[in-house]
């Protein structure tokens, strides 16, 4: 069947992906298929390669072996393909990475204007829509430095959504937050999941995983060790390493 963009049932596909930092192998033979609309939670000990994996999916890092297909397009070292894929894949970072010199509104309109070619008015309309969704439209004129961590992360989510991505990647979105701000960010993500967004979340928020994940993927030492629906993964982990990990994070 010829490939028609946007009609793929598989949003993300990894086939035999290997990656090394120098001689150190960080990703080992990863195979993963994420269906459109599926919500995946990736967990595992630090250094297990989970962040590296999702960073490979939007080409922020290169893989050396194997294939990564996003919405049917294979990620190669052709810069144009990387740009095209990043347009369709939103990413939220652990440390928010808002642009400090732009207001909240400008953070949200920059890429839609420069990359999608929206007019300022169109971009601002879209931005206000998503800022309202993450419940901070009243902060639009402020600079990121004036916002709390939780608010900044919600802006970062809105900023990614303004590009109308087909897939959202979350790289430990709540790890850098004060405890009382975790919930507001998770609530935003739960809302997003409810809309049918394809999501890959690296997180240790097991409550979130139980609530929204279709599948939990457990990684250790660069490998996918176990993948299962959350109920099965938490209540009855099959792999020894998963059990050890869960024993450590669930008190």
């Amino acid at each position: 069947m010829p490939h028609v963009p946007g009609t793929q049932e598989t949003a993300v596909k990894l086939v035999g992906v290997n990656k090394w930092y120098g001689k150190f192998q960080v990703l080992r033979n990863l195979n993963l298929s994420v269906a459109r609309g599926e919500r995946i939670v990736v967990c595992g000990p630090s250094g297990s390669g989970k962040s590296t994996m999702i960073r490979c999916i939007n080409g922020l890092e290169e893989h050396q072996e194997g294939r990564i297909l996003v919405d049917g397009t294979e990620l190669t070292d052709d810069g144009k393909i990387g740009d095209a894929i990043r347009r369709e894949v939103g990413m939220v970072f652990q440390h928010f990475n808002l642009f400090p010199h732009l207001t909240i509104l400008e953070n949200c309109t920059l890429a839609p204007m420069k990359v999608r070619g929206l007019s300022k008015a169109e971009a601002e309309e879209v931005a206000m829509h998503y800022l309202t969704r993450v419940r901070i439209p009243d902060q639009a004129g402020k600079y990121p430095g004036a916002l709390s961590g939780g608010q900044q992360q919600r802006v970062a989510i809105a900023r990614a959504l303004c590009m109308k991505p087909k897939i959202m990647l979350f790289d430990e979105p709540t790890s850098a937050l004060d405890p009382e701000m975790v919930k507001e960010v998770l609530d935003t993500m739960v809302g997003l999941a409810g809309d049918g967004m394809t999501m890959l979340c690296v997180t240790h928020e097991m409550g979130f995983a139980r609530q929204v994940a279709d599948r939990v993927i457990f990684m250790d030492k660069g490998e996918i060790v176990e993948e299962a629906p959350p109920a099965e993964f938490f209540d009855n982990p099959k792999n020894e390493r998963s059990r050890q990990f869960l024993a450590q994070i669930l008190h």
Partner: protein, 222 residues
Amino acid sequence: MELNFDDVTRYGALLIEGSIFTVVVCVAAGLVGLCLAILFAEGQRRAARALRILIRAYVEFIRNTPFIVQLFFIFFGLPSAGVKIDANTAAFLALTLNVSAYFTEIVRGALETTPKGQYEAGAALGLRPRQVFFHVVLRPALAKVWPALVSQFTLVFLGSAAMSQISAEDLTFAGQFIQSRTFRAFEVYIVVTLIYAGLALAIRSLLLLSGGRLFPWLRGAR
């Protein structure tokens, strides 16, 4: 000793013209120099190896030779290479090349402190590297080193007095001219010194203040 400023005041128009020329040529050199410095600084980080070496050589050459020699090099050197150039233009050229070399080092340092996450966030939004540089990285980097750029510019402004040596019509040149007509050397240089001090202070304060407007996100709490 008796001071008499009457002769100096008679040539007041010359001093004003000289002051204006000094300010205009320095500000123009500063602006063009900053634009060049931004390109050179980013070029040193990204351009092809040969270009990087060329930029490096230029920066080191300028930073390790006296300004007045650079001035002579351009004013006397270019004509012998067949390029006709008047003193004022030569002065502008020399000042620009001089200030941009120092600015390049300052801006490069600032670019190097940019958090990796800023590049990644830009790339993740689909911005191309050039867009990330101009829309994401550049302004915060300049904001960080603005005071350093302002002090460097002040140094260049004061050092610009050297351009009188190739008879560019700056403030010092006006002073020399008046002195040669009136023989009131001390009075002339008292006035010239005060004008330099006033201009330097005014320019420095104006630039530091305008930092608040250029980089509004730094106002208030960080």
